[in-house]
Subunit: 142 residues, 2 copies
């Protein structure tokens, strides 16, 4: 199962760092790291298999009303400690093979900084945004 | 690598059965089974890794001139004997987990019929088309 999850993540997964508005935080924004695997309804059962394997995260329905036949489901891990203790060690052992390996490396560095509360300092905040801009998703997410 | 390839195929691969025009064949058409994994240019190296692993197939450039940033590459295995002797035994051992498992089962049955030259008979031809219509790709390919 482990090798399969690594390959499936190279196909369908992503490591994203979003910046979302949050007026209760120091900078009025919040850094929001997330490990996500998206699937159509007909393969929803594999998302449950993956959730069971990692024993963390949740499955969220993204309803679609465009020309697609089925709704999308997202397996998401958002907890910093679960990312640090479950997701990151897994992908260190079962390495990604596509360009997503690079996104993962950056994601890992950002989680480390957040564990050390660096995102609460001016310097750390800038460092994280700079790192995040180097991921493959920068155009869409920043 | 094997588990990874199975997971990556569940994400990015497909087993297709196309019917293409070919005036030199008995029915004026030809049944064309293909195992394909498609990737953008930035992950071209993984297609070479997969090609090396299976020791068969070829990598073909699909140029794109739409709004995408990069060309696509397809790793394809089209030889009936290589599908039968290399690809099918691999996915029997390292099982797919998504709905593509069903496409694979149908694909396997069609390859078996073709190995027995059933596609050269009226009855076999119809049987193969009926089977192919049950794959997930029927709307696009038939």
């Amino acid at each position: 199962m482990a090798g399969w999850i690594s390959g499936f993540t190279d196909g369908e997964g992503c490591f994203t760092i979003s910046v979302i508005k949050n007026s209760t935080t120091r900078f009025g924004k919040q850094i929001f790291p997330e490990f996500v695997i998206t699937q159509g309804e007909k393969s929803l059962d594999v998302l449950y298999k993956i959730k069971n394997y990692f024993n963390c995260g949740s499955i969220i329905l993204n309803k679609r009303y465009d020309n697609h036949n089925e709704h999308l489901y997202r397996y998401c891990v958002r907890s910093i400690s679960e990312l640090q203790n479950k997701i990151i060690p897994f992908f260190e052992e079962y390495a990604l093979q596509t360009y997503k390996r690079n996104d993962f490396k950056i994601f890992k560095r950002i989680i480390k900084l957040m564990i050390k509360k660096q995102h609460l300092t001016n310097e750390g905040w800038k460092k994280i945004l700079k790192l995040a801009s180097k991921t493959n998703r920068k155009k869409k997410r920043f």
